[in-house]
């Protein structure tokens, strides 16, 4: 659970959260930027307009105080310009005058490189003042042109041909504007940083239902079909959650029905075997009577009687196996574990079934394992019986240990035969119930459940069983079960022989320990 939480908290590079936050920040940035830009522009224009208007008005005012005599004498005009230059407002300016071909200024240079031909033409051809902002070498200048007019009569005037120019550096304005940019930037960046907080909150708000959905989906995936999401609100996510809940309920209902049907089928099989068992108990008790007395009957009756006797025995085995499988299906099978000597357990199995001279063994002594002797006996007996029936001799049982990847010490039991091996198309199915590898061989000595029961027994031990073919061609069935019993039940492991790491080499059990057979 904690691992799942950790995964939730991880920031996916371009996940939904990142994109939401980015989108939010983008909107915040655009609005902050636009506001800043508009404010900046207004403020800048206000600064500039104020400076320009002041300059133009005051320049014209200054010029109007003049009373030049025409035609203008350059020396006198220069004196005028000095006066005008000294009364600069709001910033110092240099004054230039043009009169016919005369060029006079308040500075050392008679003409200015800042005054554009456009401004000059406007000043000469129109009788009104004008100004132009010029940036030269990164320095902004305000250039003002005022044509000098003179009155000709009542309210009428004519240009005298004299034009005065003022050139003013706008350094202060530039400083103010630069300060505005800085202020806008310094205001917008913290604003963006602060916007990150609501962005994260909003992303969380949107993502919480998504996260709940994911957790619910995951818990459904892990089998908890009753997982539901709390539906709140009426948005699209709420619709999604509602749909999810409906689907989950439907799924739960279907699965429930399936499980009930399966349980009914299993109970039926179990009930049938139960019911068969009572008559079989009576029949099996008297088969001996039939066998003994068959000799005294006429041959046909004797054959019939022997057939009934033999089939009754097989039927009893089949019913017993069916009962066993039913118990596995109902999870009613219990493991009665005991710590035993593995080699002795296998030897006793072979001895009990009189297989000890038909089966070769490589059973190193001293391997103690925690297992259910009765179930392990069934496992070994089924594997060896299967090898003897379907393969051909020599059948070999090897015992060994190895260490699994996760460090668990495993008891490895391997049964091989000298037959042709298992066909590849059969291999995946040999642990299936009633699977017949050969359609022609309708029935064999076994019930058809032997390997399935073997597999269930191995699983009950927390182990695995594999089928394959050896390099020599014969079938190899390998059972691996934890030496200490199923994981979770702590085996006592009083002697450590089973945890020999060198035995980890052992797909060929016993090979690493020296053959003892």
């Amino acid at each position: 659970m904690t691992a799942a939480r950790g995964r939730l908290r991880r920031i996916v590079p371009f996940g939904l959260r990142t994109r939401l936050v980015l989108a939010f920040l983008l909107v915040a940035a655009v609005s902050a930027g636009t506001t800043a830009a508009l404010t900046y522009r207004e403020a800048r224009n206000a600064v500039l307009v104020s400076a320009q208007d002041t300059a133009v008005a005051s320049f014209r005012e200054q010029v109007e105080t003049l009373a030049p005599s025409l035609p203008v004498d350059p020396e006198i005009l220069r004196e005028y310009l000095y006066v005008l230059a000294s009364k600069a407002k709001p910033h110092p300016w240099i004054v230039f005058a043009e009169y016919g071909s005369l060029r006079v200024s308040s500075s050392t240079r008679p003409t200015s490189s800042v005054i554009t031909p456009g401004l000059r033409r406007t000043a000469l051809t129109r009788s009104h003042s004008s100004f132009e902002r010029v940036v030269k070498d990164g320095v902004p200048y305000l250039t003002i042109a005022v044509p000098v007019l003179t009155r000709t009569g009542a309210g009428d005037s004519m240009p005298t041909g004299l034009v005065l120019y003022a050139v003013m550096r706008m350094s202060d304005e530039q400083a103010s504007v630069d300060a505005l940019v800085t202020a806008a930037r310094d205001g917008a960046l913290p604003g963006l940083a602060i916007a990150l907080v609501p962005a994260l909150l909003a992303a969380r708000g949107v993502l919480r239902p998504v996260r709940e959905l994911r957790e619910a989906a995951r818990s459904m995936g892990s089998g908890r079909l009753d997982a539901r999401i709390k539906v709140s609100g009426r948005d699209e996510l709420a619709d999604l959650a509602r749909t999810f809940n409906e689907s989950a309920a439907e799924l739960e209902r279907s699965v429930d029905e399936l499980q009930q049907a399966e349980a009914r089928a299993r109970r039926f099989a179990s009930d049938v075997s139960h019911e068969l068992r009572t008559p079989l108990a009576g029949m099996l008790a008297v088969t001996e009577v039939l066998d003994e007395d068959a000799d005294g009957l006429d041959p046909d009756t004797a054959r019939a009687v022997r057939l009934i006797s033999a089939e009754t025995g097989k039927l009893a085995v089949l019913v017993e196996d069916l009962m066993e499988i039913s118990r596995f299906d109902a999870r009613a099978a219990e493991l009665n574990s005991d710590e035993v000597d593995a080699a002795e357990t296998i030897r006793k199995t072979l001895l009990h079934r009189h297989w000890n001279d038909r089966v070769r063994t490589e059973l190193p002594d001293g391997i103690r394992a925690r297992l259910d002797p009765r179930r392990f006996d069934v496992v070994v007996a089924n594997l060896v019986g299967n090898a003897l029936r379907h393969g051909s001799e020599p059948v070999t049982v090897r015992l060994g240990t190895r260490t699994a990847a996760d460090g668990t010490a495993l008891l490895v039991t391997e049964v091989t035969d000298g037959g042709p091996g298992i066909r590849p198309d059969v291999l995946p199915h040999i642990f299936d119930r009633f699977y017949k590898a050969d359609a022609a061989r309708t029935r064999s000595a076994g019930s058809g459940l032997g390997l399935a029961i073997t597999q269930e027994n191995v699983r009950l031990h927390g182990g695995t069983v594999r089928a394959g073919n050896g390099p020599g061609g014969g079938a190899v069935l390998t059972v691996e079960i934890p030496l200490g019993g199923p994981i979770g039940t702590d085996g006592s492991g009083t002697d450590g022989s089973g945890t020999d790491a060198a035995a980890g080499a052992g797909h060929a059990p016993g090979a690493g320990k020296g053959a003892t057979a």
Binding site: L26, A29, V30, G33, T34, A37, Y40, R41, L48, D53, V56, A57, R60, V63, E64, L66, A67, P68, S69, L70, P71, P74, G100, S101, L102, G118, T122, L124, T125, R126, S127, H128, S129, S130, F131, E132, R133, V134, V135, P140, V146, P147, V148, L149, T150, T152, G153, A154, D156, M158, P159, T160, G161, M170, Q174, V177, D178, V181, A184, A188
Partner: protein
């Protein structure tokens, strides 16, 4: 779709940083020019219109002095005070006499096609207009020269310079014209003469 979105986002992000600092502007009008009183005062001057180096009319007021005149009246008398305005004939004669050195220093000059300084002129006021007779042909007279004459005559006849002026030469008469000092009305091409 995605690319367009991204471009829009980039544009939006750039917006605050465009148009930073102080930009250049076009030429912007800002009210009238500066109207001043010029010397010499109206009562004691005659107004002559010469051409500036770039071909525009430039007014040049000259103080009217006694004895100033035709032969060598180039020096503007200073002390003489005459209450009556000078006659139109005198004024035209002064114009045809050409600019003084002082005026010449400011680049003023006569249009070369104007008749010479000794040309006889006569003026006749009839109805609302003035007719200027020149003892010279008008044939070679350029439009600029004509305007020099028209404006000088108009402002000599009336203070506001609003009367129509008809030019008559030895070879005919031109249509009446008014002095138009508005610089906008100035013909752009300097060398165009109308015949």
């Amino acid at each position: 779709m995605r690319a367009r979105l991204r471009a829009a986002a980039a544009l939006a992000a750039l917006l605050p940083f465009t148009a930073c600092g102080i930009q250049e502007t076009d030429v912007i009008g800002a009210g009238g020019g500066a109207t001043v009183d010029v010397l010499p005062a109206r009562q004691i001057r005659m107004l002559l219109f010469f051409l500036s180096p770039d071909g525009r009319l430039m007014p040049s007021p000259r103080t009217v002095g006694g004895g100033g005149g035709f032969d060598d009246g180039r020096q503007a008398p200073e002390s003489a005070v005459e209450t009556a305005p000078p006659s139109v004939e005198k004024t035209v004669a002064a114009l045809l006499g050409g600019p003084t050195p002082q005026e010449r220093r400011a680049g003023m000059d006569n249009e070369p096609s104007l008749p010479g300084p000794r040309t006889r002129v006569d003026v006749a006021v009839s109805g609302g207009g003035v007719e200027l007779g020149l003892a010279a042909p008008l044939d070679g007279l350029t439009e600029r020269a004509a305007r020099q004459l028209v404006c000088t005559v108009a402002y000599a006849e009336s203070a506001a310079g609003g009367v129509p002026v008809t030019l008559r030469g030895t070879d005919g008469t031109r249509a009446p014209a008014r002095c138009d000092l508005r610089p906008d009305a100035e013909p752009a091409a300097t060398g165009t003469a109308s015949r």
